[in-house]
């Protein structure tokens, strides 16, 4: 592990009075390697290492403290800090029962949006909300059927108008139906799309402008590599996202995409998907993911 590597490095530096540019050089190389291995974006790794170096250099080694431990603590703390939400600027994810909430899900193909739609519905039901799943993926074969089965399994209604109606119309009608049938929260499942597909991105802008969502989730796969920043940045710049759900964290991907996405969009990871079932949803814990990223 990185901690072990630090121990090895610092054993050679016994008796040092403080952390210096020189004596942490090797350790910083190990940090860089660990983060790249964990799929943190190359440019963000650079930024991270220079921040840690800035914080560490000149620090006196605390009496009785192992310098390796001290440096590891700085690294871990900075990683957690970078992934934590920012209370002042984040829009907290909260739903108000009996008030109209509109939540839109977007992301690349296969990230786990439709599955997250069911999980999120289950989650907010526990908060007293009455969700309505809205089937806006009119492209993928049997996507509507998939959402219907997801909703059916949870006893949550699904609004759909087949594949021949434009998503804009579907959300408008869904809102009407929700009001008439006392559902307070629209959970809008959209088709997977490439952030470089202009037509598909315009469709998403159209849905957003029509329904004016209270919260937009980017759904991203935890095993995503360097490309995570590209798609996240585009979705945020062109559509606007409020928070992220990182899926498939029940695998062994280190999850560096969490740091990359937060760093490039400034938006917090709110949820993590930890399985295929509706209950497999957890709140994001930056310290847990930090440990995972450091390996």
């Amino acid at each position: 592990t990185l901690g072990d590597k630090f121990e090895g490095i610092f054993r050679k530096l016994r008796g040092q009075k403080s952390l210096s540019e020189d004596n942490i050089k090797e350790a910083m190389r190990e940090v860089r390697m660990a983060l790249l291995e964990a799929d943190v974006n190359y440019l963000i790794v650079k930024e991270f290492v220079s921040r840690v170096r800035e914080t560490a250099v000149g620090q006196e080694i605390v009496k009785g403290v192992d310098p390796a431990q001290q440096l590891f603590y700085i690294v871990h703390k900075e990683l957690v800090r970078m992934m934590e939400g920012e209370a002042e600027t984040d829009k907290p994810f909260a739903v108000q029962p009996a008030k109209e909430n509109n939540i839109m899900l977007l992301g690349l193909q296969g990230a786990g949006k439709t599955t997250f739609c069911g999980k999120l519905a289950r989650w907010i039901e526990k908060e007293g909300c009455k969700p309505l799943l809205v089937a806006c993926d009119v492209y993928r074969p049997a996507a509507i059927e998939q959402l219907k089965q997801v909703g059916g399994g949870l006893g949550i209604p699904v609004f759909e108008m087949g594949t021949e109606t434009p998503p804009l119309k579907i959300v408008q009608e869904a809102r009407k139906w929700a009001r008439e049938n006392h559902r307070d929260t629209l959970l809008i499942d959209t088709a997977g799309r490439l952030h470089i597909d202009e037509v598909k991105m315009e469709e998403l802008q159209g849905i957003r402008d029509t329904i004016k969502p209270d919260y937009v989730f980017l759904v991203a796969d935890a095993m995503t590599g360097q490309d995570a920043v590209n798609s996240a940045k585009s979705f945020n710049d062109e559509i606007g996202i409020d928070g992220v759900c990182l899926t498939k964290l029940d695998g062994d991907a280190r999850g560096g995409a969490a740091l990359s996405i937060k760093a490039v969009t400034g938006k917090p990871v709110v949820f993590v998907g930890v399985g295929e079932k509706p209950d497999d949803l957890e709140r994001f814990h930056p310290d847990r993911v930090a440990q995972r990223i450091l390996g």
Partner: protein, 282 residues
């Protein structure tokens, strides 16, 4: 790459950045850079960007030689169907890739069958059924929640009866870390062989081009569980470069066969090492 001149420190750093940002592992990146230095050694004149691309291609040529571009459903000696099992983690593009391969087969006049081996996920069977209809392939399914191995056994018996020439077996997405699911996959492979000795004739592992270093773990675990005969890399129509493929080909003797470049049945291409190298080099 805004590179010119020699293979100096600055050029190497730019190359490193390009490869790492393309998801090539740090280890493979160093290996490639070392090879490029060796290739360039002794060449005195300045390198143009085109020269540098050639040096890069030269350096990765050996790795990319581990390719078997295309798909060739060779009729088995027993006259039965050519059986292809498709595996991979959740959402990689297995079902859609089967649709694309099925289209190639039906376009070539081959009697094709699709087996809905994902008996777990919501509407997985319905999704494949749509593709079977669209591509003109036969379709075999079982009730939701059925045992996938049992379904495959029955489906292959049907395939032999009907005189199917190619059979694609869709399997449920599974994370390689789930041992019960990996055991199930090994069982499906055994059961297929019981019904048709020699089958599956191919087992293709589908990898998503947006995946980072975890793809190495996927190849390691899937190939330890079943006999993986080829790799398919999907979603290369996006901005991800799929550079992890170089690390995979360098470590495993499993060839890359096809790439997915879109969501329709026509969006399948034979792997092209030259194009892949160029895109990665940027």
């Amino acid at each position: 790459l805004g590179i010119s001149g020699k293979l100096d420190e600055e050029t190497i750093e730019e190359l490193e950045a390009a490869l790492l940002q393309g998801d090539v592992s740090a280890e493979t990146t160093q290996k490639i850079i070392a090879r490029m230095k060796a290739v360039v050694k002794g060449r005195d004149k300045d390198l143009t960007p085109e020269d540098l691309l050639d040096v890069f291609k030269e350096s990765v040529r050996e790795i990319l030689a581990n390719s078997a571009p295309g798909f060739e459903p060779v009729p088995p000696p027993d006259g039965g169907p050519y059986v292809v099992m498709v595996v991979g983690v959740n959402g990689a593009g297995k079902t859609t890739t089967i649709a694309k391969m099925a289209k190639r087969c039906t376009d070539a006049g081959l009697r094709t069958m699709l087996v809905a081996g994902d008996t777990f996920r919501a509407a997985a069977v319905e999704q494949l059924e749509v593709w079977a209809t669209r591509t003109g392939a036969d379709f075999v399914r079982a009730p939701h929640g059925s045992d996938a191995a049992a379904l495959c056994y029955d489906a292959l018996a049907k395939a032999r009866q009907r005189g199917s020439q190619v059979v694609f077996i869709d399997t449920a997405g599974r994370l390689h870390t789930k041992s019960t699911l990996m055991d199930e996959l090994a069982k499906i492979e055994r059961v297929i062989a019981k019904q048709l000795p020699g089958a599956p004739h191919e087992t293709l592992l589908v990898l998503d081009a947006t995946t980072g270093q975890n793809a190495l773990q996927q190849v390691k675990t899937f190939s330890a569980c079943v006999r993986v005969t080829g790799l398919i890399l999907t979603k290369l129509d996006g901005t991800a470069k799929g550079g992890i493929l170089l690390s995979i080909l360098d470590q495993y003797r499993i060839p890359i066969t096809l790439i997915g470049v879109g969501e329709s049945a026509a969006d399948l291409r034979d792997f092209d090492p030259d194009q892949f190298a160029m895109a990665l080099f940027g």
